[in-house]
Structure formats: C-alpha cells, structure tokens
Amino acid sequence: MAQPDVMQRLREIPFSARLPEKALTDLAAIAEIRSVPGGARLFREGEPHCCIYLLISGSIVLEMHVPGRGKVQILTIGPGDVLGWSPVVSDTVMTATATTLEDTELIEIQAGALLQLCESDREVGYFLMQQMAAALSRRLVATRLQLLDLFAETTPQQPSPL
C-alpha cells in the first residue's frame, strides 16, 4: 500500500511525471519517502546496495576515491535527479559514494522490487526502463561536457584571414 503522498511526489518528479497511471500506481506501491539529514551516507563506493533514489529536495554529493588524491567530488545530485541505478542495471557494486550535503528528501525504491515489477508487467517495465535510459543519457551528456573542459583557456587555432 503506497503512502498517501508518494503518488503526488512521483507525479512531480520528471522521472515519473509522464508514466501511465498504472505504472505510477505500481511504482508508488514499492516506493517510500525518506527524510535524511545532511552529512548522511546513502551508499559507499565498492559496496553493494539495495535501493535506487529519486531526489525530491536537498542535494547529494557523489565522490570517488582516487589513490593519492583521496575522495574526489565528481557530481552534485539535485532535485528531480535519479541516484544509485547500479543495482537496477547490473548486480555489481556501487561506483561512487553518496553523501547528503543538507537535509534531503527523497523517494527510496527497493531495486529488487523494481526489477520484479518490470519482469511481471513488461509494459510498466518498458516505461520505467525508458525513463532510466533517458536519465542515463542526460548524465552521460553532462559527463561529456565536464570532460570537454569548456572553460579551459584556449587560443584560436585558425590564423587570421587578413
């Protein structure tokens, strides 16, 4: 049985806002709203984790450990973002450590239950995985933009035509 405002929250988040009513209802049944204080660790790099999150408010930093440099912040997750998809797209361990930067409200979904939902109702699974692919695509583009180092100082490579 879904919490009363889970449905409403899911409707407000881009990831789930356009899901068909059936998919939304099924998703709400396995989702839970959580309030997490700042400084809390949601999951740790290199360890398995059971949940995926949709952020309602607050912010979360993702860090990766680099030998010799320690923890390196790689991305800040904000409202509307999907976090922690590793247990849904594979059964491997988490690729980064996630820590809340402030009081944060999020929707927590058990990855196993989500996969079971996708298996049992392929139509719902299609919609959910479509949203997951879109979220991954956005994250990939953002990562590419970071890699391009757009604000690095450059000098024009083409000589003046005059």
Partner: protein
Amino acid sequence: MNPASCGTPAANPWLAFPVQITGITDETPGVSTYELQLTDAEVARNYRFQPGQFNMLYLPGVGEAAISLSGQSESGDRLRHTVRLAGNVTHSLAGLGVGGRFGLRGPFGTPWPMEECRGRDVVAVAGGLGLAPLRPAIDAILNAPDEYGQLTILYGARTPEHLLFEQVYPDWRQNGAVVNVTVDRSLPGWQGHVGVVPLLVDRMQLPDPENTVFLICGPDVMMKYTVSSALNRGVPAERIWINMERNMNCAVGLCGHCQYGPEFICKDGPVLRYDRVQPMLRVEDL
C-alpha cells in the same frame, strides 16, 4: 546596431579616445578587472553604454581588442572591463599598471534585451568569463527590482579558483537574486555544487517558463546545451538570448572577421535572439 544609437561619443567610430587606468582588481588566475577613466571630460560626460555592449581597447603599436563592458563605478564616470590574458593586446594592457594610458573606442554592438526583461522573470546563465558581459544586466535588474520579476543567476566555472566576482554573490543574494554556482572540477575543501551549468537549468524552479527571459553567455557548447535545457523546460525560443562574442576586429561590420552567416557579430550582435541564429549554430566551423 549603429554605435551612434547607443550613445557613442564619437561621430567617427574609428576615433579612439584616451583613457587612464584608475584601478586594477585581480579576479582569478589570468583575469583582471580594469577601471578606466576617459580623460576628456566632455567625452566622459557624453559616454553611455548599455548592458552587453563592448569597447575596442587600443594599445598603440600593439593593436586592438574587443572587450565587453563588465560595469561602471558607482559614480558612473569610470568604466570596467574584465580581461583575460590571451594575446598581445591583453598582455600589453597587463603591463601598464594603474595610471597607464591607452585608447578606447565604442561602445559597440547590440545590448541585452532589458526592455523585454521588464516585468518578467530573468535567468542569467554564464560560464567562465561569460559572467563579465552579463554583470551590467544583473546590476541593472537588481538596481530596479520593482521593474523585473525574479532574477536567477546560474554560473559555472572550471574550478572554485576560477569563480569570477565571487565577492559580490552575497550582495546579489541580499538584493533578492537566486544565485546558484557550480564548478566542473572540485578542489579540496569545496562544499558547493559540482557539475555542468545546464544541470542547474534542469533543476531550477521555473514557475512561468513562457514568461521567463534567458540571457546566456559562455562557450558555444555550453550555450548550446543550456538552450536545450531551457527549451525542454518550456521556455520559448524567442525569449532566449545568447552572446556570440567572437573575433570582433573593426567593430563596425567592415572587415568581415566576425561574420557569422549573414550576420556581423560586431554590429548585429554580440547579443542575438536564439531563434534568429539557431540554424547557424548547427553549422560546423562557422
């Protein structure tokens, strides 16, 4: 835009006026803001610029560089240019110091659409040094809060060390602006946001996208994806303005250095409405 219509003191746009450096502020590595005084009192009295316009800074024996105005002193009699060391002119400028003199002609180019911003929410999105040409627009909005809706400033820099005008963010917030800052690469001790600027557009509060004006200035690729995020949020293409500063040389549309399709950026830009230049943005190497 005809420079004369923007208050250029000279009937002859080729004529450079002497200026003196009255102050230098080091901003970030390789970037400084120069405060300049037009030495001719009458020229100084008649000089007017609009947010988004640029001047040609003329270093005798070296050359000229097009540099956007990043503001003026509170008394209004001194102009500010924020300059990154890049070529011969900017290196020579850096060698002058306070009291140094050189030439200036301008202002040139199209301004930010302040009239269209009136009564609407405004989102100023900047990347890197792109915050400099936006600062006069930000100041104009914050100086007349009753005339504009909510101002949101989204700014991205390479690292926390490269954040421009960091000392004024508290004032901007104090005056009602929402200021969200991000860096591409974090440094030890950084507690702020990490990630690219378009992500901030994806996440921001946008209660009335159809009546929100976006003013964007930064590297082309950053502007392209920022525009994409704004369009996805329901902002109409005709409410999105971008600053296409590039290669400006004569400033009056004669030399062709800055030609961009049918436009000369120096006189038809640098501020252009997105829907008018959208087809050209897709042309590689233009």
